[in-house]
Symmetry: C2
Amino acid sequence: MKKIIIDREYDTDMIGNVTGRRLKTTEASLEILRLILEHDGLTLNELDGMVDSSKSSICSHLNTLLDSRYLIKENGTYYVSFRLALLGERARHRYPTGEDVREIIDRLARATGQEANFTIFEHGRLLACYGTSADENAGESSVRYRSEYHLHNTAAGKAILGELERGDVEAILDHWGLPRESEETITDRDRLFEVLDEYESKDYAVVDEEFAPGLVAIGVPVHGVDGEIVGGVSVGGPKYQNSLTKLERELAEHLFTAANEIESVLREEV
Amino acid sequence: MKKIIIDREYDTDMIGNVTGRRLKTTEASLEILRLILEHDGLTLNELDGMVDSSKSSICSHLNTLLDSRYLIKENGTYYVSFRLALLGERARHRYPTGEDVREIIDRLARATGQEANFTIFEHGRLLACYGTSADENAGESSVRYRSEYHLHNTAAGKAILGELERGDVEAILDHWGLPRESEETITDRDRLFEVLDEYESKDYAVVDEEFAPGLVAIGVPVHGVDGEIVGGVSVGGPKYQNSLTKLERELAEHLFTAANEIESVLREEV
DNA sequence: GATAATCTTTTTCATAATGTGAACAGAGAA
DNA sequence: TTCTCTGTTCACATTATGAAAAAGATTATC
């Protein structure tokens, strides 16, 4: 996998590597919003136990978020507003999340009989965009068990790391670390760089139980019109169904096809 | 339409009627986020022309939003992150936005041959949840032209106002006013109350070109399990196709059915 | 049903933290 | 070069904070 040097013509901060000032008030408000979102509603008292500031101060944040219509209040409990859902929907328009991309992923899953995923690369992580599994009963998108993935222990993530320059990889690892999520997770930085070097000769990356026990997958990056990395596609499943050689021999071609198709969609959308 | 007195057992602030303190820093940050979202990306310079504060200050807000992963930066332009889209998706789970509700609305549109909409009632406004039109070529959800509606000039909105207590209606009108959006929009508060009084004897509200010229529709509220108002359903179309009497005689029954079905879905979801 | 207890929210106010803007510096582009 | 745009520095003044108290509101207890 050749390092993509985008000549700095395209400048995406790998991490929001901000050197300037951060506003603590906004950070506190957003943290409260996040907590309410993740807990599907919280009361003042519950928040008091989670946040390190006084109740009166928390109230000020809640008032502000209410007034800005990011929250609603019902029976003393604060919930995230439907308006936030609409804002999120609007944010989605910028990303390749349409019917055509879902088609491609579904086809990949069907052709291989394995689970296929398309993720977006952002702030040094992969965010679940669309995923499906051929085994599923109905076939439609199930509730995603997770929405954010690390790069170091996922197939698409390792493929992306393999394409990035050393400095960018370092920045990402500095920020997110290499948390262990499975017995096989590579948690040593030097070891990871060794593995990434091996990808030089390949066009894809492999994850062998590093994300979850018994799960093997292969992944590739997906590029935007300017050659920048937009995200990644991966396909894989239980190890007992997929030897690594089978993965690399039989599934890789389907994976390349899917990635190319998504890149075509991205070109059309411009 | 009988006034629903929910005995204060269910307490939804009609408007986020906050008497307490609001945090200007958070408000400024959220305003910047909103501007970036609505303009599909902005540069520092562009923001400088829209916001009343110094560039350095705007930078601080941008840094904070970047760091909190609400924004990304590409080539000097700030965009809303995909992560915000995921947060919004998560917020959506709390609301009746599933396949079953879309079914009901589609069926209402098909049965009547008119456009049907389901909206969520929040902070004194109606937010587009799902809408469809039978005339459409493909039949699938088209891009929504608008996502927020006022109550005083929409069918579902007037139906909701008709059910609320006078004090709540006053609060909403105080906050949002009665902006004119069409020749026929009711912009006089007393006149609006007269019209609302007429609904006492009916079970639905009518909008007769008050939202847009040539558009007539009828609407009803949708209630949650505790009797609180969750949103509204409306159905209607061009006036040349629909006399008011036709609307009220032929379409009303379908509308009631749809509203009841959505309320059933809400009961199941608990 | 009355009283107590708990929780939420808004006050006030003194203090300290922190957001702000002007000026400055740096990076491209013309 | 000069111009334009972005981002940082720093002194100052705004503003967020927490403690305490009190008022509402709800729930628990007798």
